[in-house]
Each structure stands twice: as structure tokens, then as C-alpha cells.
């Protein structure tokens, strides 16, 4: 049994033909993860007990001839910013080292209701803040494709487990590219759905107007299946959308003839030559598939980084105010100190450097005298960026672009220059600001064998055509 080659379909077939049981598969998946994890540090902890109990439930349902669900027996890893009842959830932070959530996130609940097996929790940048997974209090994750390189971030662990084969599927969170960028760095599929598509109940908040939960998989169809399981209205998240959720996989027919695709000229600048040539090859492939590809312009792209780091840090400074040492998380004791002294010492000791930087930046841009110049201004430019997309989608069905200007970089390479690290998010941040669905699909490798991801972006709630385009591309590449 080689867990690395398993897909949702092959597991369904294997279970039906009784080649293995869900308990056998889960036991092997746990063993393999345990053995392989020291190479990458992608898992923070495995949830053996919970996984085996769920697998037994799936086997019992199957034995009675009942449908155990769309993800029956499929091992799924969960980023450690998504809460799991009775399973420590740290957010990659010392602040929450012992935090034991009293409830499950809706996404987790739905995965288990569909028969999925939660295998463990994955490493990530602290509170999902970072682009390299080097900001975790529990050590960096190594890219399974090249162990001296970063897996991307912030959902580096979730991308790495799928690439390494220590899980079949995983979920992460994407605020400015935190699913798409690690997916591209590790050579897997990663999806940031429409804002509101997947409930954020149980996702520890970073920037609420930008946070999304999204799937990782080794192929487009598996990612589509996982998104469909998680998507849809949830009463416990008022921002979750009631828009109907189509059966994405039923629509993957490989036919993209006549579709109009746009390539924004602003996204073809400042990209390494190898990334550029992979994207150009992808564009040619779409032409061969019968798509009409044209150049488009998204003129406000150049300001996206500034807008994002104003809005995301402002929201983060507010969301992270809750870590005060009182209700959960660590607490610093200050002898004879006041309540405020305790707050300040706790936060000073519990948060890492990048989280402090963002809290400071967010507090500054919201502070008296600066609100109009930064926050309000950023909200206006965000509207201009969203407008760019609205206009583009009047001309084209989808937009093609690189995910990242460069492939996975070396551990430590950018860690001392926060601005350089921020600039690496340039191509993923725009879609996040507009709230549109975007995904990364593998499109080739560099001479050194580093994966390059192609980004596909569609208009709000158009995940179905996005998956169809990605799937046709994936199938064409396989030939």
C-alpha cells in the first residue's frame, strides 16, 4: 500500500473492492506520516486516536452497505489555525501552546461527516502570518521537493504533507496567498475559494475581510471534491454565502474550447525568466485546447501590496487583541503587577517577531491622525483593485497568471528583510482583496526541478469554470 499515490477515487475503489479497510489505510497513513515527518516537520501532531475511531465508523457504515460519504476513508490534514475539538491547536504560536479547543471548525465537522479521516495538525507561520513557514514557533517546514528550501507559507505544512504523501488531502487558510503560494512551491493543487464560500467558524481569525479556508490536493478533481464537502452556508458564520454549491467534479469534462482567458500584462513583469517561460508555455497549451487568450490590464495591481498590508495588519491588530492571558493561551506572571502589566508581559512573551511587527503596524495605521491616510485610503484603493477585476471579467471568463514571481527560495534567504518577504505575495494578494476564487495548479518545473504554479482566477462564485479550466490543463499536461 503506497499512500503517496492514493487519490479520493483510488481510495473509494479500494474500499469498495475490499482491497483494504479504512482502518488498515488509516493505520498505514499514520505509520508513514510518523516515519516521514522528521524530514519536513510538516505535521505538528498526529491525531491517531481520533483518526482510527473515525476509520472504524467508516468501515462500519460500509459493512452495512451504507454510503460513508464523498471522502470516505480519505486521510486529511488540517492546518493548525483551524480548531479541532480535544486536539491541541497552537496556530504555530507559543501563545497557544496548550490551547485545547472545546469545539470543531465547521470545515472539520463537514470533512468528518463526509467520511474523511483527520490525520493530524500541520505546521504554519504563526497566526498564518508569513510566506515561508519560517515564522512558526515550532520550527520551519522543509519543502519535500527540495529539503533546503521553504515550502511557502503560511500554510506550508498543509502543502508539504500532500506533496510528501503523508496525507492525501489537506486544508489551509488563505488571507493573501497562504494556500496558493505554498501549493505552487510544493507542486500541488491549492484553492482559495470565493470569500464566504467556506464557513470560517473555527478558523482562528487573522484578517476577517480576507480570511478563507481552502483545500490542497494532488489533483484538481480531489481539490474540487474537498471544496464541495466544505462549501455552503453555515449559520455560525454570518459571512458564509448561501449561493448554491455545484457538483464541481461532474463538470470536469475537459472541454474548454472557446473559453476566453486573459493574461494581465502587470503580472508578467518582475518574474524570473524560468517562471515566465513556464507561464508562457501554459498559455500556449490553452491556445492548443481551443481557448481564446488575450492580454488584459489590471492597472491598480502595483498598489496591492500596500493596500493589503494596511488592511490585513489593521484587522489583525484588532483580532489579536483577544490574546490577553485571561481566557485562554499562555499567561505571564508579573509579581505585584496590574492587569495591564499582565496583558503586556503576556503578549510580549507569547508572540513572535512577525506577529508583533504586524500588530504594531496595524495599531499604527488605525491610530489617531493616521486612519484616513492609511486605512480609509487603502479601502478606497481596494475598491479600485476589485473594480479592475469586475471590468476584466466583462471581457474574459478567467485570468491566467503566475502564483509567485519565483519558485521556492532557500531557508533563511529572505528572513531578515520583511519588506522583501511581503513583496513576494504580489500576485496572490490582488485576488484576495477582490474576494474572487483563485487557485494554483502545477504547470512545470525549473531546471533545478522546482515546481512552478499557474494561477487561475475567476469571478465571484465561479469555482466551477475555474476547476474545469484547471482540470483541462492538468489533463493536457499529462499527455
Amino acid at each position: 500500500m503506497d499512500i503517496r499515490t492514493f487519490t479520493v477515487d483510488s481510495i473509494r475503489t479500494g474500499l469498495r473492492k475490499r482491497e483494504f479497510s479504512a482502518v488498515e489505510l488509516t493505520t498505514e497513513a499514520l505509520r508513514f506520516a510518523e516515519t516521514e515527518n522528521p524530514k519536513t516537520n510538516a505535521y505538528l501532531r498526529l491525531s491517531s486516536e481520533r483518526a482510527l475511531a473515525q476509520a472504524a465508523r467508516v468501515d462500519a457504515l460500509s459493512a452495512r452497505g451504507e454510503d460513508a460519504g464523498a471522502l470516505a476513508g480519505v486521510p486529511v490534514a488540517v492546518k493548525d489555525v483551524i480548531v479541532t475539538k480535544g486536539l491541541v491547536t497552537t496556530c504555530g504560536s507559543k501563545m497557544l501552546e496548550t490551547y485545547m479547543p472545546p469545539y470543531d471548525a465547521t470545515a472539520v465537522e463537514r470533512i468528518e461527516a463526509a467520511g474523511g479521516i483527520i490525520l493530524g495538525k500541520t505546521n504554519c507561520d504563526e497566526f498564518a502570518m508569513g510566506s515561508s513557514n519560517e515564522n512558526s514557533a515550532y520550527g520551519p517546514v522543509r519543502n519535500p521537493v527540495a529539503l533546503d528550501r521553504v515550502p511557502g507559507g503560511s500554510s506550508g505544512g498543509s502543502a508539504a504533507v500532500v506533496a510528501q504523501g503523508t496525507a492525501v488531502l489537506s486544508i489551509g487558510s488563505d488571507t493573501g496567498g497562504s494556500v496558493r503560494q505554498p501549493a505552487s512551491f510544493c507542486g500541488v493543487v491549492g484553492v482559495c475559494p470565493t470569500y464566504g464560500r467556506v464557513s470560517r467558524y473555527g478558523l482562528v481569525a487573522f484578517a476577517s475581510s480576507l480570511d478563507h479556508i481552502g483545500p490542497f490536493a494532488r489533483n484538481v478533481s480531489d481539490a474540487a471534491t474537498l471544496l464541495r464537502v466544505m462549501a455552503g452556508r453555515d449559520e455560525r458564520d454570518a459571512t458564509s454565502a448561501a449561493a448554491p454549491v455545484p457538483d464541481y467534479t461532474a463538470l470536469l469534462d475537459g472541454n474548454v474550447r472557446g473559453m476566453k482567458l486573459g493574461v494581465p500584462r502587470e503580472y508578467m513583469q518582475g518574474v524570473t525568466s524560468e517562471t515566465l517561460s513556464q507561464i508562457e508555455k501554459a498559455v500556449e497549451r490553452f491556445r492548443a485546447l481551443g481557448c481564446e487568450v488575450r492580454e488584459i490590464s489590471l492597472p491598480s495591481t502595483g498598489y496591492a501590496i500596500d493596500v493589503y498590508y494596511v488592511i490585513a495588519t489593521a484587522e489583525a491588530s484588532s483580532n489579536l487583541a483577544r490574546y490577553d492571558g485571561v481566557r485562554y493561551g499562555m499567561r505571564a506572571e508579573v509579581k505585584g503587577g496590574s492587569l495591564i502589566d499582565m496583558y503586556r508581559a503576556t503578549r510580549g512573551q507569547g508572540f513572535g517577531a512577525e506577529v508583533k511587527r504586524r500588530i504594531m503596524l496595524g495599531t499604527y495605521v488605525l491610530s489617531h491622525g493616521y486612519y484616513d491616510a492609511y486605512y480609509l485610503k487603502a479601502q478606497k484603493v481596494r475598491a479600485m483593485i476589485a473594480q479592475d477585476f469586475t471590468r476584466a471579467f466583462e471581457q474574459v471568463d478567467a485570468i491566467l497568471a503566475p502564483v509567485s514571481p519565483f519558485p521556492a527560495f532557500k531557508l533563511g534567504e529572505k528572513v531578515d528583510d520583511p519588506m522583501q518577504m511581503y513583496l513576494s505575495d504580489i500576485f496572490t494578494i490582488t485576488g484576495s482583496l477582490a474576494g474572487i476564487p483563485c487557485m494554483s495548479v502545477p504547470c512545470g518545473v525549473t531546471r533545478e526541478g522546482l515546481p512552478v504554479g499557474l494561477q487561475i482566477m475567476c469571478k465571484h462564485f465561479d469555482e466551477a469554470p475555474m476547476f474545469r479550466i484547471a482540470h483541462a490543463f492538468e489533463a493536457a499536461r499529462a499527455f
Binding site: A242, A345, K380
Partner: protein
């Protein structure tokens, strides 16, 4: 834009965040560089642009407020379970009011 050490201390106070002297010096440098970059925003003409306060515009599929009815919630014990200090059904904090 230059961010002064005094401003960094003031913002850290607002954020209820203890910073070491080294951290303060790093913030002066790092935040200064980031704010310099962000200052490009001031040059953009946004006359007549409405700020984007909502990600999705109100529509039937996004108008999602539920009925305001009480439902199940955490028990007192569950709510206190993650607190470092709790007693008699309450969270415990350092003295707030002087006797």
C-alpha cells in the same frame, strides 16, 4: 517616512505589547521601511471612489443573517477550561480596583 523611537513606544503602549530595547530598535527600522513603501498610496487619485467596506455586495446569496434565537453554548466549565487561572466559575485576573 521616518518613524521615531518615541512613536514606536507609543504604539506599543496602544497595542498592550511589551517590547525589548532590541525589538524597539528593529521596529523603528522595519516599520519605517514598510511605511515608506505604503506612503505610495497617498499619491493615488481616489476622488469619487467609495471605500470597500464589504467584500461582497448585499445580494440574496450573501444576505445571511439568521434569526436571533438563543441556542446551545459552552458550559461554564468548558468556557473556563483553557484559562490559566480560574476559580468559583470565574476567570481570575490581577487586582483591578485598589482597596
Amino acid at each position: 517616512m521616518k518613524l521615531t523611537e518615541k512613536e514606536v513606544r507609543y504604539v506599543a503602549d496602544l497595542a498592550n505589547l511589551n517590547l525589548t530595547e532590541t525589538e524597539i530598535q528593529n521596529m523603528v527600522k522595519d516599520l519605517g521601511a514598510i511605511l515608506d513603501h505604503m506612503d505610495r498610496l497617498s499619491g493615488i487619485d481616489t476622488a469619487g471612489v467609495q471605500p470597500m467596506r464589504q467584500v461582497l455586495f448585499p445580494a440574496p446569496e450573501t444576505a445571511t443573517l439568521r434569526a436571533d434565537q438563543p441556542g446551545a453554548c459552552l458550559s461554564n466549565e468548558e468556557a473556563l477550561a483553557n484559562a490559566v487561572h480560574a476559580a468559583h466559575g470565574y476567570f481570575r485576573v490581577p487586582l483591578v480596583i485598589e482597596r
